[in-house]
Symmetry: C2
Subunit: 359 residues, 2 copies
């Protein structure tokens, strides 16, 4: 079934998408339906973050299901709010939609956004939908809240503190590489089949086999913002001194944190958490595993610093690992390899998403 968006019109589409949106936060006084949403903020402080995703730059719909895309677009915004030690409460969703998309397509996209919001107790309070000439554009702004004295920013790291991370690194990038490779294989096989005049057969025969690699695909297609880590740290009474979410790659985001805190760092190659599937994939692609983990990007894990005294407590929390420590600024920022060599950490930007599209 395919309903043309034109049959609903712009207002009709907004109504269709936002009809009966539930409200879960007390602070959401008024959601969709007026010139602006109204949010109440007692003694909390408001956090605001925004992200824009463009088709062909940040995502490729040949392998990115719309539902996952919506989920991810919301999730990467939540991740920024958690990285301030706050909780996301509301989002606005702006969509630029080309004629290629039907109402059902946009429903798929929106259902992913709604699922992400349900999981993280977030209200959709507004947005904009507009026609686009070229492809799909998604721009989400997230409002979060946090008590004034609980905010954790990027600039609080101090010499001697532990550098910790949640989760593992490089898997989302490995997943992207897998999907890109399968796309190329599919395209060349489809071309061959077409040349032999049996294009109909082709689609059925070519089924990529991702068995056993689901984790890598999930990390790329369905990243999870680490609300659980924020809650774990609070439960353990641990307050990070600085924090950032890893979207552009561990290297780049660690350098951001160090620059803003006016410090240096040493991180240890052997301590960087990497899933074995990521390692296998890096091997298959003939790529350096550490580069994969440091520069892959889109991990949406949390990178934070804690006083050295937290060491024993951290050791008991599953899924959080110390990977190094903060030094004086003059000592620079280095990766210490397994054989004890030191290499300066470099901000290559993340290698996925925008960069791939530009190369």
């Amino acid at each position: 079934m395919r309903t043309e968006i034109a049959t609903l019109g712009e207002f009709g589409l907004i109504e269709h998408l936002t009809d009966k949106l539930p409200v879960v936060n007390d602070s959401t006084i008024k959601g969709v339906g007026d010139d602006a949403a109204v949010i109440d903020n007692k003694d909390e402080q408001t956090l605001v973050t925004t992200d824009m995703l463009l088709e062909g730059v940040h995502f490729d719909l040949t392998y990115f299901p719309l539902k996952h895309l919506g989920y991810k677009a919301a999730m990467i915004n939540f991740s920024d709010i958690y990285a301030m030690n706050g909780f996301p409460k509301q989002i606005t969703v702006s969509l630029g939609i080309s004629k290629r998309f039907s109402v059902e397509d946009i429903d798929e996209l929106y259902s992913g956004i709604r699922t992400a919001c349900e999981e993280h107790k977030v209200d959709i309070v507004g947005g904009d939908t507009t026609s686009s000439i070229n492809g799909l554009v998604i721009s989400i702004t997230c409002i979060g809240s946090v008590k004034a004295d609980e905010i954790v920013n990027r600039s609080g790291a101090q010499e001697g503190e532990l550098i910790c991370v949640s989760g593992d690194f490089g898997a989302a990038y490995a997943g992207l590489q897998l999907l890109e490779r399968e796309k190329m294989v599919f395209q060349s096989q489809a071309r061959e089949a077409a040349e032999k005049n049996n294009a109909v057969l082709a689609e059925e025969e070519i089924q990529p086999d991702f068995t056993g690699k689901e984790y890598l695909l999930e990390r790329q297609l369905k990243p999870i913002a680490r609300r659980d880590v924020i809650e774990l740290l609070r439960k353990a009474n641990l307050r990070p001194t600085s924090m950032i979410d890893v979207s552009d790659g561990l290297s780049g985001d660690l350098l951001h944190l160090c620059e803003d805190s006016q410090v240096g760092c040493r991180i240890y190659e052997e301590h960087i958490p990497i899933d074995y599937l990521t390692a296998v994939q890096a091997e298959q692609f003939n790529m350096n595993l550490t580069t994969f983990a440091l520069n892959g990007g889109e991990d949406y894990e949390l990178l934070f610093t804690l006083p050295i005294s937290a060491h024993a407590q951290i050791a008991e929390i599953d899924g959080i690992k110390p990977i190094g420590h903060i030094t004086k600024k003059e000592l620079g920022s280095f990766l210490v390899t397994r054989d004890g060599q030191e290499f300066p950490i470099q901000a290559q930007g993340h290698v996925s998403g925008a960069e791939i599209a530009n190369n």
Copy 2:
């Protein structure tokens, strides 16, 4: 001078654009530079609104200077906050930028945004910049604030109340028509000149003459959100019972307000404020002047209702005019023409921007 954006990189560009952004609002605790901005909100309520503008759909850079575009993109968001009887305080700015644009181009765009922010005492607190494959994408989210008991929404209009508007209508649409016509003239003349092999001469010779029509162009290229009207009403101790900003055309937005308030209306053709330049232009384009004013859109004026008792006070305020009154819902929504006939008001959507691109 043209600096390629690639010479700065994504992070460099963000730094370049947001370097030394001044902060004017006490509530802006932290602006650009962390995962999220931090906004303090004492006893006020937070308003949030967002708008997305796409090249080729909402604007045509052949006649829309980037500086004006930035100014307008910010202004249309402020307008939504004023329409809630609040004041804009912060914005986030997300840009999708294709390779066609240089750093200087984006500086121009941003300088327009900054000018709008300075005029309306708004802080730029964050955003996102990303590469775009096709054209320019601008997505702005505005955060405003208002005391809880001062919020004016679309649903408060009651039978018997006055319907009032600020400014005049149809001029922005007239300006757009002028610009579109000149573009076509220019293109056909340039084509002719090129055929005669004197393309160099052509550009110099073809200078559109907009003398005397500056007002229409300004309404299209440099709309002004009506902060002054909100301030005037407060000074006069007049609190609208319902309010909306007119972006989609007077007809459509009046119907929105009536629907949300569960009422009907009568507005009088003779009372709709129209500038004489708009009238001249409608005549020249052989278009019905009232259609121009009712459906043109992009006026960014305020449409609001007031108790009938406010009539005398409103008469004394320059630039605010009653155009009709609210009726029972069952009586429908009608335009009363100069000769006393009644025509149902229809939501055609606005005829400019997106619709033109789709036609």
